[in-house]
Symmetry: C2
Subunit: 409 residues, 2 copies
Amino acid sequence: MTTSRDVVGQRSETVRRANLSSIVRELHLRGPLSRSELVARTGLTRSAIRGLIGELVAADLVEERRSEPAGTPGRPSPEVRARGDQTLALALEANVDSLAMALVGLGGTVHRLERVDRPRAHVTVDEIADDLVGLVRPMLGDLRSGDALVGIGVAVAGVVRRSDGIVRHAPNLGWRDAPLGDRLAESLELDVPVWLANEADLGGLAEHRRGAAAGADEVVYVMGEVGVGGNLIAAGRPLVGAAGYGGEVGHMPVNPEGLPCGCGAVGCWETEIGERALLVRAGRDPDGGRAAVSELIGAAGEGEARACAALEHVAAWLGVGLATLINILNPQLVVLGGVFERIHPLVGDAIEAATRRRSLRPSADLVRIVPGQLGVDAPIIGAAELAFEPVLADPAARLRSRVPALASA
Amino acid sequence: MTTSRDVVGQRSETVRRANLSSIVRELHLRGPLSRSELVARTGLTRSAIRGLIGELVAADLVEERRSEPAGTPGRPSPEVRARGDQTLALALEANVDSLAMALVGLGGTVHRLERVDRPRAHVTVDEIADDLVGLVRPMLGDLRSGDALVGIGVAVAGVVRRSDGIVRHAPNLGWRDAPLGDRLAESLELDVPVWLANEADLGGLAEHRRGAAAGADEVVYVMGEVGVGGNLIAAGRPLVGAAGYGGEVGHMPVNPEGLPCGCGAVGCWETEIGERALLVRAGRDPDGGRAAVSELIGAAGEGEARACAALEHVAAWLGVGLATLINILNPQLVVLGGVFERIHPLVGDAIEAATRRRSLRPSADLVRIVPGQLGVDAPIIGAAELAFEPVLADPAARLRSRVPALASA
């Protein structure tokens, strides 16, 4: 079913922009395609495709190449591909345990990715911004001199207001209303927009575009790290909510008799399935971080009773929250990221059973629960996607910005 | 942010269809508009609007009339309006307590609405279908002879597979996999499509289009009757999920130590806030139905302690589930329907406080919790909207179907 938002009056500029967008988006997400494949995928005519590709080539967004002869007779048809060398996104990540930066080309090629550990302590937003800039510094000269960078995407372990890049609340970093977006824009001086979003939202976006949920339109992504976050995809689109705060699945109240949560409430899902709950139940250091979790998973694999019991506790409570999400969203796919991706091989069946026990049959019969495919890098890959989004939505804007240069050449 | 679903290649037929759709949709939802208002609302040019209106007038979907002189100088501009007499939807409702039928015109005018009580007993799908046909029978001759009927929408108290109108599970009617859509189509013989959906989904749709949530893009609708259902609107669109089973908020597990639920699980939201929970806590007959709830609300208004305590219990648990929905969906508006609409004047503040206690601040600060505006008729009004949807999405299809008649006239 559709509503009033589906359709608005359309003029020819709008149509041209939409058509350019659909071509660039196909090439970005699916890789090189022949013109015939573009015709089939977009529903546009061959002549329309030809004209639009010409414009995109002139703007350095795509290129055409004869593909390698495949041993079949006849002239090989030219392949259209995104110019991942000429259109770049800078992706950053401010996680509780680590900081990371990546340089990603249109089409998804990761040219460079660096991650450094950080101690789990509350720090100021200026310190985090400085550390992130430090990671990027070796490339800063190159980035400033080129005009290929289209945007900066930032994944943050907190609730982010998307309109202005303010981190409204990041309990594990110790922030409220922290202007991380502005700080990064000032320090980097790269003259391109900086986009921030929650790390789990971006992890889910990455799994949806390039991972376990590719091609699925109804997806629940749940990621466990120190906190528990999520991302919901409905009808192929991320559910971000009125201000971008959506997907905070870690703070669903699941246990009225439960433990106090960092958010100030009691019995949030995070208190039963988060990293801390897992480590405490296994009798391990709750602040041991990723290394302690790896040890725990290893011990459980060797049958250590407390480690196994801790994983089973998490599996049972995962089922309670997943049942909530399945009953209200009727997804076709649940993707487990972060620590849940890592424990899935050990307790996948227990998670499945606990989920089915509390889900409505019609929805339970339809859903598959799978581990993610992108591991720890899902959020930063999603951050690059976030930075590319304006170019994908309106390649014509980039065309326009390049026109003077082309004209004077 | 947008994804690959936002944009597909566009050809001129697609554009024309979208433009016709946006005009009919505006007139259906907003009432009569001048051509200038249509230009402003759709973004189309004046000449495009003129041409498209001509087509819609020829198909009897809209008409143009001079509006009443308003005492201002100059010629009154013609008003375009939906032909609510020429384009009709039949809406039906199979509720636990009652059956209803309505005849609704394009533009939303309810020409006729009848509701009859039914005993709370399990009945076969054939019996319900016969009773609904009996309600429609007095008009059946008129409906068959005209060609104004575009579809039949049916609201059902159960989980509905939208693709084929099968009621997968309706515990309060005693159904599993009941082919209500087919039965109604056979008995009514009206040669128009029959669309089924869950009653709470349709109540939410109605409040979104014509009630408390009109104009809001991020909405959670929760409706309490015998069962508790809901409807979620994100980015202006209903979240129906992979097969239409979404919105089953009544079966969120909220209390691991809770009561068994009709669905087979334990501690579902419905067991704490449904009509039965309310009546039992107030020491009243749990099967007393709507009348018993009315008495209870009256008694609470006069200060009866047990009645007040029961309402406070429901308010507190409403807060738990609403916090879940607010944290994961970041809605701007929560609309309470059914019994929650009726108790809102008494315990609105308690609901608000309980919800805030467990919601993340950024999302809690943004949301408003309000009662519905359409009362008991919300689902049947939504059923009419469901039946109109294909005409709104593609008025050109109706144009095409009318062309032979026009050509031979």
